[in-house]
Subunit: 103 residues, 2 copies
Amino acid sequence: MTEATYFILAALLQEPLHGYGIIKRAGEQSAGRVKLAVGTLYGALDRLAEAGLVVIDHEEVVDGRPRRYYRITDEGVTAVREEAVRLQQAARVVTVQIAVMGA
Amino acid sequence: MTEATYFILAALLQEPLHGYGIIKRAGEQSAGRVKLAVGTLYGALDRLAEAGLVVIDHEEVVDGRPRRYYRITDEGVTAVREEAVRLQQAARVVTVQIAVMGA
DNA sequence: GGACCATATATCGGGGTCCGATATATGGTC
DNA sequence: GACCATATATCGGACCCCGATATATGGTCC
């Protein structure tokens, strides 16, 4: 799983969001470090939807323009949880070694 | 930093290794999850060397074939340590939210 | 002896992903 | 009027991964 898809799924854990909302949420959750580009977002959302990790929750029309809300699926929650474990383990590989160096 | 470059740097933390040794070490450190492809390795090593995160430590000749040992630089150690922190924080973004969901 | 695998380096090309640029549209601020 | 935030969508360039391929040796297995 790429970093972009990971943060998209993470952004959707609380509630369904539309595209622009995902970008903002991902920025908030990472303290500004992650800035999803729009070109990244829509391509990644298409792939996630095809993989069944997200689905379209509902669509609204605001100011005459459509707004599409995406919802994470149970499968998506499982996938992002497993990825979090992998990231945690990857981080440990380095931190443990550096801790030993310092000792 | 991509996952491949991260695990290459992690593999070099203990001691200088040659290409094939890096592949094996990365596999060991990740309990078999990370399998660096050779095509990935040499391209990534070139980029890391250009960025100054690794340098060629020395070259040996074994059975008439050269064996090139790469060493991580201080800059490389700093970079991989910072990346470990980022991975840790990224993992937390998900684990904290899921913990709250369960509560 | 031949097949296969581990060791070992190197390159090439295809494919996937990221992301800035661009287009389009509205409403608010300065 | 200019600019920015909000909002969706697409395209192309750039970057990176990785399997395939080439080359070479030594060991194991049948």
